[in-house]
Symmetry: C2
Subunit: 217 residues, 2 copies
């Protein structure tokens, strides 16, 4: 491809693939591998070699046709493209079963995410700590989040409360929402929402469990 090729805008899937390549590279580095070719990255990440090369054109490191990419340099280039190590501040709305599960999981598996606070409307849960995170009443959302530069929110409230919660978060400058509720939400332009409706996932899994003939690879 020529240098004048215009890269397509970064998509959520491309971000996910680049993060996946970093995992592959971390594994190679741990095994003492110093250099890798795109076809090997492809095989290890489950992508096609051409897609890998297309993705890696974004990161400003070309590699070498003979030796491939230096594993550490490539990882650094991808990390820089993804924004580098960053301790993002986040809030969780909804400390029910799902919310508590999320807090516990993120605390151990993703400690780089700083959970500033979790919010609830059940007064029995407020002013406690849950998995190390203070739980406050949802009424205090603006007061607590206001000056904290929180860009990420995790939504685990009941469906009927999701839109109102999303509206308040957007007004507070939250730019990215991980939505675990059983509904979609409308957000201002420029706000990223990723939906993970586990209930619907279960519906799909249950449906296709009985219909192998309808499953497409």
């Amino acid at each position: 491809m020529s240098r004048s090729t215009v890269l397509r805008p970064m998509t959520p899937r491309a971000v996910g693939r680049l993060a996946t390549y970093r995992r592959v590279l971390a594994g190679l580095a741990a095994d003492g591998v110093a250099a890798v070719h795109s076809q090997d990255i492809a095989g290890l990440s489950g992508m096609t070699p051409s897609l890998v090369r297309q993705d890696l054109m974004r990161v400003g490191y070309r590699g070498n046709p003979q030796h491939g990419y230096d594993v550490r340099r490539l990882d650094a280039a991808i990390a820089a493209t993804l924004g580098g190590p960053r301790a993002d501040r986040a809030v969780l709305l909804g400390v029910g079963n799902l919310g508590r599960a999320i807090l516990q999981y993120f605390r151990t598996a993703h400690p780089q995410l700083q959970m500033v606070a979790a919010f609830e409307t059940d007064v029995d849960l407020v002013t406690t700590r849950c998995h190390g995170v203070p739980v406050r009443h949802l009424l205090d959302l603006e007061e607590i989040v206001g000056g904290e530069q929180v860009r990420i929110a995790i939504l685990a409230v009941p469906a009927r409360e999701a839109q109102a919660a999303a509206d308040r978060l957007a007004a507070l400058g939250v730019r990215s929402i991980l939505n675990f509720t059983s509904t979609t939400v409308r957000v201002p332009e420029g706000t990223y929402v990723e939906n993970h409706d586990i209930g619907l996932a279960l519906e799909r899994v249950a449906y296709f469990a009985h219909r192998p003939e309808e499953v497409r690879a």
Copy 2:
């Protein structure tokens, strides 16, 4: 559309949409609403009216141009299309932080899913119960699952163990996998896999939190 129109095969997204319409219909029924038009279902579910009508062509209930669809009849028709109420049997592999969170959440939010057992390789966790589900050693997977007609598995093991686990599950007749691991898995044709890599979701959320100009609706 004429009766001779061939419906496209059911896709995971179509299953998810039909399940979403059922949620909308349940809400309408709870509010005492007896009949609904496709455009209202569309508005309440966040879909376009034409997509709703296309989806509902699958369920064998046409409705009435003047009165619309009877809420209860339509819900029953969708339920029948999705396979009707069914107590599916499932197993969970991996009782780490994520696995425990999943067990707790599914127990309360999705009790129709019968968790036969959870499996672990950490001997300290085996022979206990976790959120009401017996925890057994992964070595005993075939013995416990063998005769149980378990069609659904939830995968929450470390990435390096995921493919081996998927292979064993496929051999046992599991037809549908909800994959929460940080890797993809290969499965036989006809086996459905739905990937929910929360780590990658977080990477995407963190990336776009700082790049509103790259967010597309």
